[in-house]
Amino acid sequence: MTVDSLTFVGESISGAKASAEELLSRLDEAKIDRAVVCPLKPRSSLLEEANDIVAAAVRRYPDRLVGFARVDPNLGDDAVRELHRATGELGLRGLFLHPWEETFRIHDPRVDPLLEGLTVPVIVAAGYPWLSEGLQVGELARRHPGVTVVATNGCQLNISGLGQVDAELALAGNANLAVQTTGVYREDFLEGVAARFGAERLLYASGFPFFDPRLEVLRVRWAPNLDEGARRLVLGGNAERLLLG
């Protein structure tokens, strides 16, 4: 089974938008079976509305989609309450944090109340300068060793590859940290993560609609130095184990 471990639905304040049907159509084109779906930041900036949209999409396509909740740690107790509502009442299965769009340091102490005692995984939009650099995401994982932390973009987002070493240091220091393939053009980096830290810690993800699943999945399907067992884990096995529960 192939699982896209990061996609979005809704209408973003930045202009990006995707319906569940558009997402599934694109997944079908790329021969992808299931997807983790997260909220886009809505024009209202009210993430509760966005979580409701994700929950509705999952209710329509329960065999294809697993929903994650998005909250803003800047809102303190209100964020904790929304996380409980979304993972309880709405049935969402994980937490998605976007330090760039909500503007917070991923290792700011205000994030800690969300992760304390958390029993679902966390996906972090990673690689953004100042806010979710590789070692900063690693620091979050270090403070919460019982929580599975999954970093987008290989835990680095740099067209020169300058963030790769810090991403690898974060992986080396935190067994609870895994990374996604989203937009990572360096196949040697992706294969290196699998070789050095284990294929169990690398997950295929497209980040649709920001990236195109038809291209992104090729980074794994065509990676020449992954053996077939590792490829199966990266394409879906790891997402089933870590994110789908």
């Binding site: 987002l157 740099n158 067209i159 020169s160 590859g161 300058l162 937009g183 053009y185 360096r186 196949e187 040697d188 990236f211 195109d212 038809r214 291209l215 992104e216 090729l218 980074r219 065509w222 020449p224």
Partner: protein, 208 residues
């Protein structure tokens, strides 16, 4: 091209590339990656690369050299390349010294030079790359690493298919995937042919 900036690290960098190209005539063309800070030595390296060794262009990586694209040392190199109708390929991405607006300063200062924006702005500066190319007709965009097929289509639509070049950045990126990225852009047969090869050939053939 090498991944170091001559004359630093490997003083035989140009020879290494020249030998590789000579081993596969008709398949490989060389660009000279040069550090601008060595003044007349840098200029002499470029002159030798083009005139004696048959190199086809200049490559500049402002992030590894910490040399601003519009610094005088850099502009001298760009102008020297342009004397031979050789293009200058800049690493162009999301870091200071390498953003499209920074490289556009060089394009404005050297209107006689062809300036290629490698990675066409990276992850977060792609729209900016297209915008500066609209303002400066001597700017050409190069597709490697940049992960958005639809932005290739946008660039071709706004600039024309003659001003976008396929590139892989191999071996860091997979040429197989990078070609597929251009195909996913859905450019149509004629534009795709230009982007995938004819534009590059036209630029390389013009070098004298």
């Amino acid at each position: 091209m090498t991944i170091v900036d001559a004359p630093e690290v490997n003083p035989d960098a140009l020879e290494l590339i020249a030998e590789a190209c000579a081993a596969y005539p008709g398949r490989l063309d060389a660009f000279a990656r040069i550090h601008p800070w060595y003044g007349d030595e840098s200029l002499a390296l470029l002159e030798r690369a083009i005139v004696e060794l048959g190199f086809k262009g200049l490559k500049l990586h402002p992030v590894t050299t910490i040399a601003h694209p519009a610094g005088e040392d850099t502009l001298r190199l760009i102008r020297k390349a342009a004397e031979h109708s050789a293009p200058t390929l800049f690493h162009c991405g999301d870091e200071p010294l390498a953003t499209p607006l920074a490289v556009a300063r060089a394009a404005a200062a050297c209107p006689e030079a062809t300036i290629i924006l490698g990675h066409m702005g990276g992850y977060a500066h792609v729209d900016e790359a297209i915008e500066v190319a609209e303002r400066h007709p001597n700017i050409v965009l190069e597709t490697s690493a940049m992960p958005y097929p639809d932005k290739i289509r946008a660039a071709v639509g706004r600039l024309g298919p003659e001003r976008v070049l396929y590139a892989s950045d191999g071996p860091a990126c997979s040429p197989r995937i990078e070609v597929e990225k251009v195909r996913l852009a859905g450019l149509g047969k004629d534009a795709e042919r230009l982007v995938l090869g004819e534009n590059a050939k036209r630029l390389l053939d013009a070098v004298s």
